[in-house]
């Protein structure tokens, strides 16, 4: 079964996610309208500028339809800006967005672009060599709720990857490298969700 993954395509590095998902044999749908959400098995909210994406989500009335899908169990993964948009609490984002995941996020936690970096990182659930994690004007996850699992920290400090039920958030950009393992981890979440009866099943069509 080939999974159909939606990528929120309002702004940001949509093509980079699509490229890796294609290597992993997933079908891709760019999500820019409510109707694009109907028969997807998972949703990726890519990297980009969180303020810009947040405004377009509001202007084109996408917040409620996306929230409803995720609450119904649709697997979702936010990278960088995507993690910010998923968070229940964000310091210095000027308007509420999806507010679903029990994480508290600080935007642009490392400073301006000259402090952006890449670094080897161990992520819970990714076996073998560490990931080469790319942080670009990246947020950090300051705190997580009781039901949220921490998947990675920088040097035992800031949380940079977390999972809560059907929701995954990373501060960094696995889509910028050649490593497909983080995308595979997300697709595994989508397979599990699509095959389990009590979770979201894409039968609308």
């Amino acid at each position: 079964m080939s999974l159909k993954i939606g990528i929120l395509a309002l702004q940001g590095d949509v093509a980079e996610h699509a490229e890796i998902l294609t290597i992993l044999d997933a079908q891709i749908t760019n999500v820019r309208r409510e109707s694009d959400l109907t028969d997807i098995d998972g949703l990726i909210i890519p990297g980009g500028e969180s303020t810009a994406i947040a405004r377009l989500l509001i202007a084109y009335k996408l917040i409620d339809p996306i929230r409803e899908k995720i609450i119904a169990g649709l697997p979702v993964w936010g990278t960088c800006a995507g993690a910010i948009l998923l968070a229940k609490e964000v310091t210095n984002l000027d308007r509420p967005s999806l507010q679903l995941m029990d994480i508290r996020v600080t935007r642009n936690a490392f400073g301006s672009q000259i402090y952006s970096f890449e670094k080897q990182l161990h992520v819970e659930g990714i076996n073998g060599d560490p990931l080469n994690a790319i942080f670009i004007r990246a947020p950090i996850i300051e705190d997580v709720g009781q039901d949220t699992q921490v998947l990675a920290r920088l040097e035992q400090g800031p949380i940079v990857a977390a999972k809560q039920e059907n929701m995954l958030a990373t501060s960094f950009h696995p889509e910028l490298g050649k490593d497909v393992r983080m995308h595979q981890l997300f697709l595994d979440m989508c397979v599990q969700s699509a095959s389990s009866g009590d979770k979201y099943v894409s039968i609308e069509r």
């Binding site: 395509a9 309002l10 702004q11 940001g12 590095d13 949509v14 093509a15 980079e16 820019r32 990297g47 980009g48 500028e49 303020t51 810009a52 405004r55 377009l56 202007a59 960088c80 800006a81 210095n92 935007r107 642009n108 400073g111 301006s112 672009q113 000259i114 402090y115 952006s116 970096f117 890449e118 670094k119 080897q120 990182l121 161990h122 819970e124 560490p130 790319i134 942080f135 670009i136 004007r137 921490v150 990675a152 920290r153 040097e155 035992q156 950009h173 910028l176 490298g177």
Partner: protein, 319 residues
């Protein structure tokens, strides 16, 4: 988290800043977005509010640089700092072509991107800045594939087609984007032996040329710039293959007929918002019609490029 000792060592590898991946990566995050020229903190806030992905901090927009003449330099440091402290989106600033000390100062200020720009007066007629010496990434203008690949070989992590800044005339932006696109399409059908000749003719490194031939694209993100003055202009450039747009005078020189400052700024914000939407929904004429109804009655007045004298053109600076 339960990291054991052995994995800890690897995990604690030093973070690498200023790498090529990190520099070109920020441009990838800006894709599908609009970068707006601003001359005050107030305009920067309006741009962010409208959904800009970054602002370009300037003392004068290109149309005013044209009108005023004289030497156009890097903006005043205080102005750049005011704009940096007023918004949370990336702040870019321009350095003169070849003026690596202006670039050093901008890097020290912590700007997020430097535009080595033909809109300012050229500081070095022979050499561009060696951009590999910097942690901060650079964007450079290009009119054709040769210019684009030369800038990339000097370390530019993002390209923008030059267009003709400060005119509000889209004709040059279209010409430059179509030129690069056409040159790359030609490359993809060339034999390997012909690529060497093409590299010689274009005066570019063969490795970069071969990469473009193999992938059918530039190795970095390519935005359109220089003449965008309406949502339709922005969508045109996106349909032609731009990955995003820079808008200079097109926003904060619109609605110039309105005397009241607050009303004028509100109309300019409407223009900015409409261009942002037009870049996201660039292939949906129905949405483009809707957003085109939201813009001010008066776009920037503009100058026809065809009526400019050769020495009034900015795009020819720094090839």
């Amino acid at each position: 988290m339960t990291n054991n000792g052995s994995t800890q060592d690897k995990s604690d590898s030093n973070p690498q800043v200023g790498s090529w991946t990190v520099k070109s990566g920020l441009a990838q995050m800006l894709k599908g977005g609009v970068i707006m020229d601003v001359v005050t903190a107030e305009q920067a806030i309006v741009a962010q509010e409208a959904g800009a992905v970054a602002v370009m901090a300037l003392e004068r927009v290109p149309s005013d640089i044209r009108r005023d003449g004289g030497v156009a330099r890097m903006s005043h440091v205080t102005l750049i700092q005011e704009i940096q402290s007023s918004v949370s989106i990336p702040v870019m600033a321009k350095a003169r072509i070849g003026h690596f000390v202006e670039a050093q100062i901008l890097e020290a200020l912590g700007v997020d991107y430097i535009d080595e720009s033909e809109v300012l007066t050229v500081a070095d007629e022979q050499n561009h800045i060696d951009k590999t010496n910097f942690s901060v990434p650079f964007v450079c203008g290009a009119r054709n594939l040769g210019e684009a690949l030369r800038r990339i070989s000097e370390g530019a992590a993002m390209i923008r087609t030059k267009g003709e800044a400060g005119t509000g005339d889209i004709v040059e932006a279209v010409r430059h984007l179509r030129t690069i696109d056409g040159q790359i399409r030609k490359l993809t059908s060339m034999r390997n032996d012909e690529l060497y000749t093409e590299a010689r003719d274009l005066q570019v490194p063969i490795e970069l040329l071969r990469g473009a031939a193999e992938t059918g694209s530039l190795p970095v993100v390519n935005f359109s710039a220089g003449g965008v003055a309406s949502p339709a202009d922005a969508a045109l450039m996106m349909q032609l293959g731009a990955e995003g747009v820079f808008v200079g005078s097109g926003i904060f020189k619109s609605a110039a007929d309105i005397d009241d400052d607050n009303k004028r700024l509100a109309q300019q914000k409407a223009m900015a918002t409409a261009i942002v939407k037009a870049v996201t929904y660039f292939d949906d004429p129905k949405i483009l019609a809707e957003v085109s109804a939201e813009v001010p009655q008066t776009a920037m007045r503009g100058l026809s490029v065809a009526q400019l004298l050769p020495d009034e053109l900015m795009a020819g600076r720094g090839s």
